[in-house]
């Protein structure tokens, strides 16, 4: 199977290399053909492997492919660990990626309009874009299939790199450059924690390999580390790793980069900043469940951060008018749900939500992109409305996506979100009641902002200008086909997957358990005990509080932005004035950006300038580098005069040398 896994990883890489390096030679058609076939190979092989795991008892693969180096007893390897957790990620990542690849053909078709006339960077931008997204697929697969921390870190940084490149894809736009710099810097903060965590693991476990580390974990469970007055090793490692996850999965307070990342083209917002890369943190924590289970402190930390993100980021979504930003804040909030599930030790529920979210959020983003194409790159929802009749496929798929997002009974989001809320409710660790309340109210918020956007975009009066309206039509099939293909799992995947993933032993059977949950943290226990099939689960769901909250959110959104909006289009504005100063606070995004901009960015710029002037210019350049260079040059000029060219001088020098050595070494 090693070769199959290698093919899955390398096929997108080859596509990326060919499209990236020979883009100008193979042209647009060549570039998208080769990258799409690469990703298609990955996707179909991944699905085949998934089917082997479901129906054929495929054994877990855990082996090194290549040993890079051995240093001080630690082996640094490229290796794959493919178990039931990995295979779900592989299938999700490669499938969504394939959909996005196809969609990109339509979205980037007239990319030359996005560049200033004659810009050098605009040349072959289409091919470059395909190269990047294929490279992303490769990196993400490397990340999820890794069997060791080194490769995990490689994948982690590689997806970060591609994300950076793609946020700033339209590199002639000031805002895009600002956004990718911001994403890069914020992720550095997270990665600093992450690499410290890996270093701590290397130091105490003396290995990079997951299996070896997990085997030693319980032995080291009670180790204390003498920093900050003594903390448990596991707590330290888990929190450090989680700081990495906070950066990558955009959790408060490291979430600030994600909304700005919407500067990138929409397909990558769907692929990287909604469906896959940002869930890497969630995946990583689930993968490390044997470690997290050993530290309740770390779990509480994860739980509180996750719940905070889920609730407060959802609120910001209510005041956004940019279609992509609404979806971005919704992504932040949903990531918060997943992370909260991890904190409650319901790793399986977190991964389950990750998977359903990947489909419906990619769908929502691509639908938003479809709207953006139709409106010629206008993104303001107050300038939309009534698109339903012009774009029936986009409208319907977006409706399905929204229903899945708010957890409408029967849709995939319903199963995963209810499972999370139930698990958090059952959790006993510190902060669980806080999390439970926030998540439950969060359901209402989710429904409210989702359907605010839905009604403003697809219903009511057409508010766009005449010219745009005149050209309105449904987008081409390369755009709508992925929507349809994503809508299908958005609706059904929950129904089919909940039983094996949460109730049965998908994650816990066999010798190798991808997810380990200790007995006292088993928050999904209740769900398993009372499982009587999906229909029964829905039946219970519709009598529970989250359902009523979701429905009232939906209803309220309908009343305000469909009903009231029809006769008073300024209701949104009025509501916002009414809600002042809360609206103000939300529009300022709680001041995170200002704070970072002023304290961290400004502060480090000042610090840098000071160090540059005093340290670098004066001391290092002035005194050390140039000073010593000048001194050396002087000495060189001086000593060269010893070489006079006269033979007798040379002979004298030899005699002086002789006398010198004699007096030094011979004592008469």
């Amino acid at each position: 199977m090693g070769n199959v896994y290698l093919t899955i990883v390398l096929a997108p890489l080859i596509g990326a290399i060919v499209a990236g390096l020979f883009g100008s030679k193979i042209g647009r058609r060549g570039a998208h053909s080769i990258t799409i076939s690469g990703v298609a190979i990955s996707a179909s092989l991944s699905l085949w492997v998934l089917s082997r795991f479901i129906w054929h008892e495929q054994p877990v693969f855990n082996d090194a492919i290549y040993t890079w180096m051995v240093s001080d007893g630690i082996r640094f390897e490229i290796g794959f660990l493919v178990d039931k957790l990995t295979v779900l990620m592989m299938a999700t990542v490669s499938f969504v990626s394939l959909m996005v690849h196809v969609y990109t053909i339509g979205y980037m078709a007239d990319d030359e309009h996005n560049w200033p006339h004659g810009a050098l960077t605009g040349k072959n931008s289409y091919q470059r874009f395909f190269s990047y997204i294929s490279l992303f697929t490769f990196s993400m697969l490397m990340l999820v299939m890794s069997n060791n921390f080194m490769q995990l870190f490689f994948g982690w940084e590689a997806v970060g790199l591609v994300s950076y490149l793609l946020i700033g894809f339209w590199s002639t736009r000031e805002s895009a450059i600002f956004a990718n710099m911001k994403a890069f810097l914020v992720n550095r903060v997270g990665d600093f924690g992450f690499i410290l965590g890996i270093a701590a693991i290397g130091m105490y476990f003396n290995s990079m390999n997951y299996a070896e580390i997990f085997a030693q974990a319980s032995a080291l469970a009670n180790t204390q580390v003498a920093i900050l007055g003594g903390v448990s090793l596991m707590t330290l490692i888990c929190i450090l790793l989680f700081i990495g996850a906070m950066g990558k999965s955009a959790q408060v307070p490291l979430h600030v980069w994600l909304p700005d990342s919407m500067e990138g083209p929409t397909p990558i917002s769907a692929l990287i900043h909604a469906a896959t890369m940002v869930t890497a943190g969630v995946f990583m924590v689930a993968r490390m469940s044997p470690l997290y289970e050993l530290s309740e402190t770390a779990l509480s930390f994860v739980l509180i951060i996750g719940a905070t993100t889920a609730f407060f980021m959802g609120l910001i979504g209510l005041v956004q008018n940019d279609i992509k930003r609404v979806v971005a804040y919704s992504t932040l909030s949903q990531l918060g749900y997943m992370v909260t599930a991890l904190g409650a030790s319901a790793y399986a529920a977190g991964i389950f939500h990750l998977m359903t979210h990947a489909f419906f959020k990619a769908l929502l983003f691509l639908a938003a992109g479809s709207v953006i194409i139709a409106l010629h790159h206008k993104q303001d929802i107050s300038q939309m409305g009534g698109l339903r009749k012009y774009m029936p496929i986009t409208w319907l798929t977006a409706l399905f996506g929204s229903l899945a997002l708010i957890g409408f009974p029967g849709f995939s989001g319903f199963f995963s979100k209810d499972a999370i809320i139930e698990a958090v409710g059952a959790s006993q660790i510190f902060g669980s009641s806080y999390a439970s309340i926030l998540l439950t109210i969060g359901v209402f918020i989710t429904a409210l902002y989702s359907f605010r956007m839905y009604f403003l975009v697809f219903h009511g009066k057409e508010r766009m200008d005449e010219h745009t309206k005149h050209h309105l039509h449904e987008t081409p099939w390369v755009v709508t086909l992925p929507l349809v293909f994503l809508a299908i799992p958005s609706i059904f995947i929950g129904w089919y997957a909940i039983e094996p993933m949460l109730v049965n032993d998908w994650f816990t059977s066999g010798n190798w358990m991808p997810i380990v949950v200790s007995h006292e943290h088993d928050t999904l226990h209740h769900l398993r005990e009372h499982w009587h099939g999906q229909a029964d689960f829905i039946q219970h769901g519709v009598t529970a509080l989250p359902f009523f909250l979701a429905m009232s959110g939906l209803g309220l959104a309908a009343i305000i932005w469909w009903g009231v909006f029809a006769w008073n289009p300024r209701v949104d504005e009025k509501l916002q004035i009414l809600g002042d100063p809360i609206t103000k606070m939300l529009q300022d995004k709680y001041g995170f950006d200002d704070f970072n901009q002023r304290i961290f960015a400004g502060g480090s710029r000042d610090l840098g300038r000071t160090l540059w002037v005093t340290g670098d210019q004066n001391v290092i350049d002035g005194a050390i580098v140039n000073g010593s260079a000048r001194r050396v040059a002087q000495m060189a000029q001086w000593t060269r005069h010893l070489q006079t060219g006269y033979l007798y001088h040379y002979a004298v020098a030899m005699i002086v040398g002789l006398v010198g050595l004699l007096t030094l070494f011979v004592s008469f």
Binding site: V632, A633, M635, A636, Q637, T639, R640, Q643, G645, L647, H649, Y650, A651, A653, M654, V656, G657, L658, G660, L661, L662, L664, F665, V666, S667, F668
Partner: protein, 479 residues
């Protein structure tokens, strides 16, 4: 002394060189002007045969033969092979230069081959007398080679300086030998060592003699303060002579040091250790500093030689087997680098135009990017930049020094090599980032030369990536 088969087969490489030299001497008389190339082919053929024979008779136990005058061991095998191979490169590079100037005559090859013979004898000498004979044979040939361009005033001046100072150096060496003989009553290295072990170490006459020996060694290497001849001779002599002078003789000088100091006087290590240390620090310092101020590339390479000698001494003064092996590695690698550097200068020179100044290298990349790359490798290697072999060589020597707890010395060496990196990198900058000067003659070169230079340059890279190949041979020589 018996001339039996066992004795003679062991010196087959030397015999081959001798026969080739005599053959060239005779054949040359009957060659017409346009056929002088035969000399070249004959010499190369002889060298190739000698390399092959070194391989054939090489290996096996250490043998002392010819009544204790010669020795055959792993040191001699490796050094002989290196000298012959480096000389091969040298002759290949020199040909077109000589041809352009109507100097492709038998004398050059005869003198060159006799110098090689002298070096081979030094390498396998087992007594002070043999080593002195080898040294003088080599030195006399080199004096003549420096003056080879009869019409050149600079060449004549350089030859005169070299000869006088060389005589002074040889005189001191001989005087030192007489002291050692006086103190121990023997000139055979093994017996000297034995005598010293028996009589104890406190004999002042011995130390007195060692000072003179070290000066002789220092002179042959060109270590400060016995280096004065080096820059003037490098600048004044015709470039092919410098090529011969600057490459393989360093290996012979290494043999001189190892045979006398290690084979003969290992027990007095504590005495010669300090002397080498002073010479090493002075050489590294002065060589690197003054090289910066040079505008003539041959002079720059001369000072660079001096600084490299300092590094070789670091390995020697460590006094451990590891130190000797690292010094040997360094010396062989240096000979290759020097051959490459001067080889490039020869390749770039044309009739009536000698590459003398750094400026002449400007924009080499635009003229011939392959030679530019090879020169860059040579320069990186001399500067000690990984992954070239120069880095490995420096690393090994420094390791040896640190093993004997002379961390300050290693620091000094590193600082000076950082200073030295400047002038090597300047050459690379000239090659790649400057425009070529106008009116340069076109670069013509033969495939053979290009091939040799490619092997030479890539060897520096490959040995850096896979140093074990050569290093294990060096380590096996000192066990």
């Amino acid at each position: 002394m018996q001339f039996d088969a066992a004795n003679l087969t062991t010196i087959l490489p030397e015999i081959t060189i001798l026969v080739t030299a005599c053959l060239v001497l005779v054949v040359d008389l009957y060659l017409k002007e346009k056929n002088k190339d035969v000399n070249h082919k004959l010499s190369l053929f002889g060298l190739v045969i000698a390399v092959a024979l070194t391989g054939v008779v090489g290996g096996g136990e250490r043998v002392v033969f010819f009544d204790g005058n010669l020795v055959h061991d792993r040191i001699s095998d490796l050094l002989k092979g290196s000298i012959l191979i480096v000389s091969l490169f040298v002759f290949v590079y020199a040909r077109s230069w000589l041809k352009d100037r109507n100097m492709l005559v038998g004398e050059f090859y005869v003198l060159g081959l006799f110098a090689v013979l002298g070096m081979l004898i030094m390498v396998s000498a087992n007594s002070f007398l043999t080593i002195y004979l080898g040294l003088e044979l080599q030195a006399l040939c080199l004096y003549a080679l420096v003056a080879f361009d009869r019409d050149s005033k600079k060449g004549a001046e350089a030859a005169m300086k070299y000869f006088v100072l060389g005589a002074l150096g040889s005189g001191m060496l001989l005087y030192g030998i007489s002291m050692i003989y006086g103190a121990t009553g023997t000139i055979e290295f093994g017996q000297v060592a034995q005598a010293i072990a028996e009589k104890g170490l406190s004999n002042q006459v011995l130390v007195f003699g060692i000072v003179f020996l070290v000066i002789g060694i220092g002179f042959k290497f060109g270590a400060v303060p016995f280096h004065m001849w080096v820059p003037d001779i490098y600048e004044g002599a015709p470039t092919p002579a410098v090529l011969i002078l600057g490459s393989a003789p360093k290996i012979a000088a290494f043999a001189l040091a190892v045979r006398m100091l290690v084979d003969g006087l290992q027990n007095l290590h504590s005495d010669w250790h300090g002397m080498l240390l002073i010479l090493a620090v002075l050489s590294m310092g002065l060589g690197n500093l003054v090289a910066i101020a040079q505008t003539n590339i041959k002079r720059m390479l001369a000072y660079s030689t001096i600084s490299h000698v300092g590094f070789i001494f670091l390995g020697l003064l460590a006094g451990s087997n590891q130190g000797y092996a690292s010094a040997m590695f360094y010396t062989i690698v240096y000979a290759l680098m020097a051959a490459g550097a001067f080889g490039i200068l020869l390749i770039l020179s044309r009739k009536g135009f000698d590459v003398e100044n750094l400026e002449d290298l400007k924009g080499l990349n635009d003229r011939d990017s392959w030679y530019a790359a090879m020169m860059a490798i040579v320069m990186f290697s001399m500067a000690g930049v990984p992954p070239t072999v120069g880095f490995m060589a420096k690393l090994l020597v420094l390791e040896a020094v640190i093993r004997i707890d002379l961390v300050w010395l290693a620091l000094v060496a590193v600082i000076f090599s950082i200073i030295g990196a400047f002038y090597y990198l300047r050459v690379i900058k000239l090659i790649y980032f400057d425009r070529p000067m106008l009116n340069l003659p076109e670069l013509v070169t033969t495939n053979g030369v290009r091939f040799a230079m490619t092997i030479n340059g890539l060897a520096l890279l490959m040995l850096g990536l896979f140093p074990t190949a050569l290093l294990s041979l060096c380590q096996a020589a000192f066990v």
